[in-house]
Symmetry: C2
Amino acid sequence: MRTALCDAFGIDHPIFAFTPSEHVAAAVSRAGGLGVLGCVRFNDTDELDRVLTWMDDNTDGRPYGVDVVMPMKIPTEGTSADLSSYIPEEHRRFVDETLLELGVPPLPEGEGREGVLGWLHSVARSHVDVALQHRPVLIANALGSPPVDVIEQCHEAGLKVAALAGAPKHALSHVANGVDIIIAQGYEAGGHTGEIASMVLTPDIVDAVGPDVPVLGAGGIGSGRQIAASLALGAQGVWTGSIWLGTEEYRNLAGNKGWETAFLRATSSDTVRTRIYTGKPARLLKTKWTEAWSEEGAPAPLPMPLQNLLVADAHNRINASGDPDVISMPVGQIVGRMNEVRPVAEVIGELVAEFEATVKKLDGIAGI
Amino acid sequence: MRTALCDAFGIDHPIFAFTPSEHVAAAVSRAGGLGVLGCVRFNDTDELDRVLTWMDDNTDGRPYGVDVVMPMKIPTEGTSADLSSYIPEEHRRFVDETLLELGVPPLPEGEGREGVLGWLHSVARSHVDVALQHRPVLIANALGSPPVDVIEQCHEAGLKVAALAGAPKHALSHVANGVDIIIAQGYEAGGHTGEIASMVLTPDIVDAVGPDVPVLGAGGIGSGRQIAASLALGAQGVWTGSIWLGTEEYRNLAGNKGWETAFLRATSSDTVRTRIYTGKPARLLKTKWTEAWSEEGAPAPLPMPLQNLLVADAHNRINASGDPDVISMPVGQIVGRMNEVRPVAEVIGELVAEFEATVKKLDGIAGI
């Protein structure tokens, strides 16, 4: 499975794997894909620095990428405490009462209550600065174009810049800003996502940006058949995320209690697209927590970055409790396909083999 | 482009075309696909009888199908007048006021005001009875499994029965009821649709029903690349709808005023999934009419079949006015790709050619 992106990055398969786990990212890169480490969870840049040093040392010299969350325009900024003053009392009360109803205990005394600061612009910028002291080949931004000076900073350091787009007009805007690679993020994807499904979005973006801009298909990719479909639609590679939650390497990530149980039993109907995670629409596993926010009387989610600050403590409590009925976790519709936990290398091997078998089957249909 | 379905039906390409226009359906069948005539618009069974006679005479002996709208369980039934008494005054007032605000004039004196009765169970049954006096090879049901006695009636007459499914569990239930072919209707499709996108739904249903039950991919299919993607996902053919609205043959259907203008300018972002058309979630073109129903203070849509009775008169008025900003019309997200009006045979030819080119491109990527 070779496209021009394989040569551009020196990888064997055009399979890009977004993951918050350095263990998964490194294993993907070692297996011939491109592991992309999500940085949003690193409040402490020193920790990110240590983790990227580990990546440098554990990828057998293969390339890897990093993913930041950075709006192009500088949004509401300030410390966690400053911003918290904007959160209405009604919202705090709803969160407290919901956690009580769902039986989620308070955190043990002394455990951290800080929100995820990676959503803040200044923190995301520091992630880029730290990353550039290591050897990533790609910086991807989950919120579209990064600021133009960040794109230039990356280009000067020899990195490619990728950005997620949920509509052709956003893709065109990213290209105009200097972004090199568009990630066409379909409706079925986990995390932040728009309303256009991959089957329509991928070819629309491919046609909009033209042949000189590589497009990665994202959303709904968890098998070799789905990779073949995405490449048929014109993508030069695929951007995957959810599938890596079902790997042995992911178990190394702290706070994984309950997730596996929830993923393994979920069907493709068990996700919901909602603003409750960050303030922008994102697809999450459907649990009692997400359902509570859609009941009558629930408050409307707050804008980014306030919503994440509002629910950060709740997420910590939910993760600590490990109740699979309540967890709050981004995942795509392919969660229905995640039915066993396997090593990353085995998953990659199966994706590639099924892709090849699918192309042979299509040859038969086409009479080639 | 040959799959087992081509042999089963005696068609050249596994392209199934749902359309309310007998001119489109016949042209698709003549071009080697399978035209499927939507019957829901026929309140008068004699008219359906005449149209199917026309189909018999204008398909060069090629096979065709019919599509009915029939819930498996018998729903609220009765005459249009009986049922109307269940419609709340608030809803009638909202419709009247909205039409006034949108500048949609009343119907000219004497023009028909009857709703679309095809949503009623008894009417759908009469459609089946009429169809069986002609020579369709397939009966498809937009609402899932038809009643078991209808399936038996069709099988005795030598017809195959197809049913739409928006989730694997529905597909399994259809198969248990005796349905022969599953139409995997993805989120991006026009008309009635569920929440799972085609990229995930098609392989999920293919895997659920197993290799003996043919699956048609539906939703997001408007190009040869999309056909290749759907067949890569395991479908044995595709079920298309929206794309035929942009054909010369479709212009023969009465009441087409304004639609073409609206379709040709729409992007893939210009649709909405809503219950306002029939009471069940269906994807429509986003217009001032659909937007009015999502504004604050708008009433919640009524259940099927009341919602359609409520808006039937409004649809007649909107169609008669022909204002492209206001039309109420089911269409899928591929509407963004419908940028010119062409003859059906040309569209089929392009679908097949692009499918073949796409498979050759995948061969290059796979190194075959």
